[in-house]
Subunit: 344 residues, 3 copies
């Protein structure tokens, strides 16, 4: 596959500076790109890397002052977004051919939209509805009564259980478990007794759930993940949580039951959040934070127990001065005792 810079610029509404007939055969990072590759830079900091780059074509931000170093430039509003679009030109997402593999097991009253693909050994239980254009991977399991929207992609070995309602263009990565039972028990006479979990698990449009992540269904009500929210690998979301729209949950985040997270929140890797809390819209949590209190809108918190990021930064920096601080305190005490002694 090969294109002229001109043709690629048209795909991303870009403006060419330099030779528009130059041929581009691939995409690469600025450090590894060769003369037939197109790359991108997002700002002045990365623009310097162009000096050592052999890239033939470069997506650059509209306003940025830049030295082309022999490359043809394509000016765009967001080079990263444009590069992302060209990735789909050069590497069209592989789609399984529509059709139901003969080994797939389908229950009764299953409704399947146009252009759906169901892979080998997938198991689709009774009363499932699968929207048009969706793709169900090998060994995937879709439980009784589950509803999947249009253009959903359920990867191999993922499971979606009863109570799940999945929006359009949702992507479930391999091994994701959606709408599994929550961790609900009560004390019985002979030990803990399981509380039957009967709520729903709603993933709105454009949600992505990473590999081997787990999202429990509601106990009585709903667990909800809002439109556009992206969940990384090995994340756990407890029952009855409500996650807002366009949030990012980085790998190994854990959220205990019934916590509410506002739109656009960003949770760093391995963050843990206790149950029944409110995390405000646009809040940002540093990696490994342990959150045990509500967090106001738009604030950045870190640490465990988490506190406003600056407070945590200052305290963390002081933490490693503690041994010295103890020595200084000892010295002051000795001095005070001596001066007391002198005073007597």
């Amino acid at each position: 596959m090969e294109f002229s810079v001109e043709e690629l610029a048209q795909q991303v509404d870009g403006r060419v500076e330099g030779d528009p007939t130059r041929r581009v055969g691939g995409l690469a990072s600025v450090t590894s790109a060769g003369p037939a590759d197109l790359t991108y830079v997002v700002g002045a900091r990365y623009a310097r890397l162009l000096n050592d780059s052999r890239a033939g074509a470069v997506l650059v931000p509209d306003g940025l002052d830049i030295e082309p170093n022999g490359a043809t430039l394509i000016r765009v509003a967001s080079p990263e977004l444009a590069f992302s679009r060209l990735l789909e030109v050069f590497h069209p997402p592989r789609r399984r051919e529509p059709g139901i593999h003969p080994t797939a097991v389908l229950g009764r009253d299953v409704e399947i939209g146009d252009g759906v693909s169901i892979g080998p050994y997938a198991v689709i239980e009774d009363r499932v509805r699968i929207g048009a254009g969706s793709s169900i991977g090998a060994h995937a399991y879709i439980g009784p009564g589950v509803q999947l929207g249009e253009n959903v992609r359920a990867d191999p070995a993922c499971s979606v259980f009863e109570g799940a309602v999945i929006g359009d263009r949702v992507r479930l990565h391999p091994g994701a478990r959606v709408s599994s039972d929550g961790f609900g028990y009560t004390a019985g006479p002979d030990g803990p007794v399981k509380i039957q979990q009967i709520g729903r698990c709603v993933l709105e449009d454009d949600v992505e759930v990473g590999s081997n992540s787990t999202i429990d269904r509601g106990s009585l009500g709903d667990t909800v993940v809002g439109r556009g929210t992206k969940i990384d690998n090995l994340v756990h979301i407890g029952h009855n949580c409500k996650i807002g729209r366009n949030c990012f949950l980085v790998a190994q985040v854990g959220i205990a039951g019934s916590t509410v997270i506002g739109d656009g929140a960003r949770l760093g890797g391995q963050v843990g959040i206790a149950g029944h809390l409110d995390i405000g819209a646009g809040a940002s949590l540093g990696a490994k934070s342990g959150v045990m209190s509500n967090i106001p809108e738009g604030q950045t918190w870190s640490g465990s127990p988490a506190r406003p990021h600056r407070e945590w930064l200052r305290a963390s920096s002081a933490f490693y001065k503690l041994p010295e601080l103890l020595r200084r305190l000892d010295a002051l005490e000795r001095a005070a005792e001596n001066s007391d002694g002198e005073g007597n």
Copy 2:
């Protein structure tokens, strides 16, 4: 499905206060319940919510002074336990029909009890024994020689490997890996050499293992999880651990090899415990604790490295005063220097 309050009270050995003929068609939380719903309150703190509730019937604790707000009350010892029982009345746990799906692959010398259900594409290796009433989900894998008790429920896509001995009424959630190889290596001439893992993995009766959790088999001896212990999602238990009875391990807990945990211990989310430690019976570990020492019976510890909870609380609270503390120390030192100067 609809019942009178009278009928429901009989199911839970409760005493009716108010109209016993009132009809109940569903179960709901106190805030979302409507006039045809039954809900429950566990204590005085939640009883206030009844003022704004439209619930038709309410399970309440025997002794609690309560304003019914138009609802019929059912007095019971434990409203949560009673509610849990009624959940099974209104939502009987779905059971797969007994029988072996024609696509299941069974090895030689497999023994299968009465009323067992084996789902599509399950793979059962040689010499497996499955007790009466057990249910094996779609795509589950049961390794050679594994023994499963009665009324076990192995969910879709879980795996149980050689060396596993599983008690009665054990529940394995989707993607759980039981009796997998532990992380044992020794230094060889050309790099690490794997130490063959040959021990067992014993899950006693009524154990529950969450989605995508992993429990390694013993290296030489046994890994054991005691009766009634409940394990949440994405938990890791290393080889040779002995976990007591009726413990709770919340999501993303990790326990290194050979650690022993007493009966009734409670481990909060993302707790990590080093290897070869003893955690006393009834100990409670705060979420995200990092445990590097033995913990006495019945104590609550938190923090990383973990310490008695109150000690940790006080130190954590002082931690965020560290920058101020440093300023105060600076001021004292300056004052001391000045007074020294004055003294000279």
Copy 3:
């Protein structure tokens, strides 16, 4: 299976002290071994346990002064390595018979080496290459174009996706997800837009990937795990990471994208490492560390944010003295005020 001590000594190049004709029927730990068992001790600390051991034969280090307590000794350079070899004598690793199970689904242009075993319901996509002696477990999924070396063992329910290049003798434990999509998004006009991931995921020879662990493919370039590196359960490795040779990543470690880790590094359980960092060769990270800066070669760091281990130890110990430290500071301030008052 039974052997004389003499025969076993020959297997491990050992030297017998005591009765070489003694019969050994099994292997056990020093505390559980009986008269017909062989055990091992690695040093003086464990040698004392021999006093209470009933073991019939013991592997001991060449130089160690030891009281045999009636047992026959076998002197070797590394008792643990020798024991590991004898484990394979007494418990030969179970190998599935070579052959392709009739239920396995194979794509077009698949190349399969000699002696390969493919289990029930495995799915092998187009253009896969599987080296001689490899074994693919039940329900495993091998994506389009994936290359597997010789004597690879892919356990049940693992998945290997497009872009993966897997070396010889690699072991993938159940539920491992290799070469899955990384967590890459850019801001679009209506919310986050996924950046297509097209890089490779290279696992060199002798790598081991634990149960339910996830390793993302590179975004444009490669994710690489070096020869001999061992990865425990529930570990996450982000896109574009380069992990060196002979590293150990203990359970629940998480590494964000593009981080580089040198040869022989050891990462304790639940360690988290931020993206785009350099961890030096031979570095060692304490369990639960949160790494936010580069780490020099050969150093041991701990804590969150991580710092050199000794610094962290001293600061952690001082941390729990903070409340007392605050009281002492208060006392000094009061004393200073009083002496000021006296001075006036």
